[in-house]
């Protein structure tokens, strides 16, 4: 502690203004708590600034270009020209609008905003270093703290991010020009989403993946349409190859991969993007000062009130563990704020939905048939292929399907998996059904608008019940 330093006090100190942190701050402000939100970079965190929002902006923009250029079947002949600068400007406009909105909402809810990097300095105290050298620092004493410091991309040995040749996902989303060729290390959802973006921009994309499958964590039948579409877009997917090193080649770089068997391959490219996952940011906080220790992966363990082992310290969002999803962090932030305010809040959701914005999209929520069986249910499955959907045909995207999983005896909807057009949106209906404890009958008895893609959810429920009209029943 600095001699003569006078600390300001606050009810709730929140470290990090990402989706977990800003939601916690706004909710705590609504609940009449005195809230201080510390952010070192930009309001909105990774999601708004370097993740979900910019990537989805670019996915949409490149999608428009790609669609327009590939619509001969619909009688459209176009050759879209992409102005990368314009596209980035539009993307940044979207981001600015959202981050500005977060800042305004925080202020409107009485949240004190402090810029800087927070470090614990005792059980009820943090030290916030403002900006760079000479910018000074301040101490803040708190009753409760919420750690919402998020995550950062994982680097792999030999592939340190430099923003020039070796890019993180954040760098890739800020590129000013379209690279001619790109090696993407990692075929997870970030790698596959960005593979789609750059392929549609005309980049020659190669994806190398150490594991034997792309999109691990998703069932094969969900991953396959994505892999097929990527290949149709010209993306080369190399499985079972681990990136082992790279070197300058004059014109660009050569990325070397190695198989388990020791076989080496070299890929020439302009840049390499490393997207092998994200690690929680807990190393900047001096957690030792309050006696908290992250687990081996860097996460802070929390209970169903988002509380760490310390009664007055909470952790939300990516630092609180998998899945690292903004909407999970938002819920945790809300619950943490409500618990601090003495409300009977808890993390008792039945399912966390997830979406991958590849082409086609993947959306999942709740239990897969296998998981349902493991949990002691007798699962029944209903499925509807998009090729049987009138609306899907009219969009030109008929790949994929909707699957709904329910308990055969009670009919309760337990989960769903969708791959196909607008899967990220459509999954919400199944999520709602899971949360409400709705049955297949409930979904089937709900009239869905025709002609829409959501009819596929309805039809899947009918299919599970054995009276689907537009498909053959199971």
């Amino acid at each position: 502690m600095v001699v003569g330093d006078i600390a300001t006090g606050t009810d709730v100190l929140i470290i990090g203004a990402g989706p977990g942190g800003y939601v916690a701050a706004i909710r705590a402000g609504q609940l009449d708590l005195d809230v201080t939100l510390v952010e070192k970079d930009a309001y909105g965190g990774t999601c708004l600034n370097h993740g979900c929002i910019p990537s989805k902006a670019l996915i949409t923009a490149t999608g428009v270009a790609h669609e327009a250029g590939n619509a001969e079947e619909m009688g459209i002949h176009a050759d879209p020209a992409i102005d990368m600068g314009g596209m980035m400007e539009w993307k940044e406009g979207v981001v600015d609008q959202l981050t500005g909105g977060v800042e305004k909402l925080c202020k409107a809810n009485g949240v004190n905003l402090v810029e800087g990097t927070a470090e614990f300095d005792g059980e009820n105290r943090v030290r916030v270093a403002h900006g760079g050298e000479g910018q000074g620092s301040e101490s803040i004493e708190f009753e409760h703290a919420i750690v919402a410091t998020g995550s950062r991309p994982i680097e792999i040995p030999g592939f340190e991010f430099d923003g020039e040749r070796i890019l993180s996902s954040r760098d890739a989303l800020a590129l000013k020009s379209v690279p001619d060729s790109l090696v993407i290390v990692g075929a997870g959802y970030i790698g596959m989403e960005l593979a789609g973006v750059f392929a549609k921009l005309g980049t020659d994309v190669t994806v190398v993946e150490m594991l034997e499958e792309a999109l691990t964590g998703f069932a094969d039948d969900l991953a396959k349409p994505v892999v097929d579409t990527m290949e149709d877009l010209g993306v080369e997917i190399r499985l079972g190859e681990a990136a082992s090193g790279w070197e300058e080649t004059g014109e660009g770089i050569a990325v070397t991969t190695e198989t388990d068997g020791g076989e080496e391959t070299s890929y020439d490219c302009e840049k390499a993007l490393v997207a092998v996952g994200r690690a929680p940011v807990t190393d900047t906080l001096d957690l030792e000062a309050i006696g908290l220790e992250p687990d081996g992966d860097g996460f802070l363990a929390t209970d169903d009130r988002a509380r760490t082992k310390l009664e007055h310290v909470f952790a939300v969002g990516d630092v609180a563990g998998e899945p690292m999803l903004a909407h999970k962090g938002m819920k945790e932030g809300q619950v943490a704020a409500e618990v601090i305010a003495g409300e009977p809040s808890a993390l008792d959701y039945q399912a966390v939905p997830a979406a991958v914005f590849t082409e086609p999209e993947i959306g999942t929520v709740g239990l897969s048939p296998e998981e349902a069986e493991d949990d002691g249910f007798s699962p029944v499955v209903g499925q509807m292929p998009f090729r049987a959907s009138g609306r899907a045909l009219t969009t030109g995207h008929t790949e994929g399907f909707v699957r709904i999983v329910a308990d055969e005896e009670s009919g309760f909807v337990l989960g769903g998996q969708i791959v196909g057009p607008e899967a990220s949106e459509l999954i919400a209906e199944i999520g709602l059904a899971v949360e409400l404890g709705a049955t297949l009958e409930d979904v089937a008895a709900t009239i869905h608008t025709h002609p829409t893609l959501s009819e596929a959810v309805h039809e899947a429920a009918e299919n599970a019940l054995g009276h689907a009209i537009h498909t053959l029943n199971r």
């Binding site: 009977p344 308990d407 009919g411 309760f412 404890g437 009958e441």
Partner: protein, 508 residues
């Protein structure tokens, strides 16, 4: 929809109650707070009020049956609530063939009666219902769902809260029931199950018997306890009694009684010419059993030591005689009890370990800095212990009037549980009936009890002379785990000092 009503917890330590009498029948319309049953619990007969407006759907406990707290005793069909849900429940109660097949399997879920729970422990309920459960402190995994396929609804959570709420909220929830407790158990007439105990025909004596309402009425008319009627059928694995079985059993009972009477008259008659029964069996129930349980707990938990002594109380007799007339002018009957209470409280302040209890679980002696004195009162139904609160803050007249008032309520059985709780020390006045010494059993978990013998003139020796003087025999029992014999003797000596010189009380 159907609302279940569970026997509420009526206070500390009460685990069960006896259904004395049902005041309603299936099909009856009831309004909220209307008494539906009389339940005899620990030392009080309470009227249980309906929690809802609606009609009685099913009565699940027999009169005379002892029901554990938390068991559903009656169900109501609630008007104005979702009719579809009612249909759902009704249907699920009468399983179709296919449902029956399903229900044979162990993983029988979705029958509408139990919460849907899997090995993963999932309960199906919408988020707003989950939140409500958290707000009310209801464990949603223990709530029976009445929604489709057993989904837990808002109503289910509220019903669970009402059913168990009394446990956590205690007196507040049950006040209405207690305040209406004005009836003596003996006045309830039928349902005490004592009329058919002489039967020579073997009785069944089950805990639970299924029967149609008309059969129940028939059994009532015959004065029979359905649980004793031999059953010829089973429904859902439980004994089911038909009207024919009731008639047959009633006839057999009458014949047996007639045979007994004849046998007795042949063997000789009683002094009044009436046949005298050799023995009679009276159910060990209600208050009698509660007293028994309490006494046994105390006797076998706390090692009792009794200390006896006699106070010479001429001073007390004079003081009371002097004040009695003044008290009567103010409409108060002044007994010796308030003096004794004041004396005891004065001494308890000197011996705090006597005004204590032992918390066995946490291994702590809980010394009370408040003085609530229980006064054991003999009533027709048995011993009751009303508690006079804050004795140290009250004057003689106020104590006299409170003691009189509480004793009257106890005898009339209109006393509430609250008026019998919270004691820190107990006095038992067996001397009011006569006698000198006894071994009082401590009112567990208190650690001491003072028994009073009869205040009477007795011979005492003074300066080598025997003379008559008013004396009061004292019997003090202590829990030897907490209090030692020497302390008991010192305590008794100080009490005697106050009783022999009541003017000392003026210093208090």
């Amino acid at each position: 929809m159907v609302r279940e009503f569970k026997l509420p917890d009526v206070g500390e330590g009460v685990a069960e109650g006896e259904i004395v009498q049902w005041l309603v029948e299936p099909g009856d319309e009831v309004s909220e707070d209307q008494p539906v049953a009389e339940v005899e619990t620990d030392k009080a007969v309470v009227e249980v009020p309906s929690p809802v407006n609606g009609s009685v759907k099913e009565i699940r406990a027999e009169e005379g049956e002892v029901v554990p707290v938390g068991e559903v005793i009656i169900t109501f069909a609630v008007e104005g609530e979702d009719e579809d849900e009612e249909q759902e429940t009704a249907e699920s109660e009468e399983p179709t063939e296919s449902q029956e097949q399903v229900s044979e399997e162990p993983a029988d879920i979705g029958d509408g009666s139990e919460p849907i729970e899997t090995s993963a422990g999932r309960v199906f309920a919408p988020p707003n219902v989950r939140r409500l459960a958290r707000e009310l402190g209801v464990d949603i995994s223990s709530v029976s769902g009445s929604g489709p396929s057993g989904r837990v609804t808002e109503g289910d959570v509220r019903a669970a809260d009402e059913g168990s709420g009394e446990r956590s909220k205690g007196p507040k929830q049950f006040d209405a029931g207690l305040q209406s407790a004005t009836r003596k158990a003996g006045e309830s007439g039928e349902g005490d199950g004592s009329t058919d105990d002489t039967g020579a025909v073997e009785s069944a004596d089950r805990d639970r018997t299924l029967a149609a309402p008309a059969t129940r009425t028939l059994a009532e008319e015959e004065g029979l306890d359905l649980n004793r009627v031999p059953a010829t059928e089973e429904r859902d694995g439980e004994a089911f009694v038909t009207p024919e079985a009731v008639k047959e059993y009633a006839q057999a009972q009458r014949e047996a009684k007639a045979a007994d009477a004849q046998a007795v008259s042949e063997a000789g008659t009683g002094a009044d010419g009436e046949p005298a029964e050799r023995e009679e069996r009276v159910p060990y129930r209600g208050i009698r059993r509660t007293i028994g349980t309490q006494m046994a707990t105390s006797k076998f938990t706390a090692p009792h030591v009794s200390h006896h002594d006699t106070a010479e109380v001429e001073g007390l007799v004079e003081a009371r005689a002097e004040l009695k007339a003044r008290a009567e002018e103010r409409g108060v009957r002044l007994t010796y009890m308030p003096f004794i209470m004041k004396a005891i409280v004065a001494v308890l302040k000197e011996f705090p370990e006597m005004n204590a209890s032992l918390d066995e679980e946490s291994e702590e002696i809980v010394v009370k800095n408040y003085y609530n004195v229980g006064i054991a009162v003999a009533t027709d139904a048995g011993l009751m212990v009303p508690v006079v609160k804050k004795v140290d803050e009250k004057g003689l007249l106020q104590l006299a009037s409170e003691v009189n008032d509480l004793a009257k309520k106890a005898r009339e059985r209109s006393i509430t549980r609250e008026e019998m709780q919270g004691g820190t020390f107990t006095i038992t006045n067996f001397g009011a009936i006569g006698g000198e010494y006894a071994t009082p059993i401590i009112n567990h978990p208190e650690v001491a009890i003072l028994g009073l013998g009869e205040l009477a003139e007795r011979p005492i020796a003074e300066d080598g002379e025997v003379k008559a003087a008013h004396t009061l025999p004292l019997s003090l029992s202590i829990d030897h785990r907490v209090v030692d014999g020497a302390d008991a003797a010192a305590f008794a000596n100080r009490v005697m000092e106050y009783l022999e010189n009541p003017t000392l009380l003026l210093l208090e």
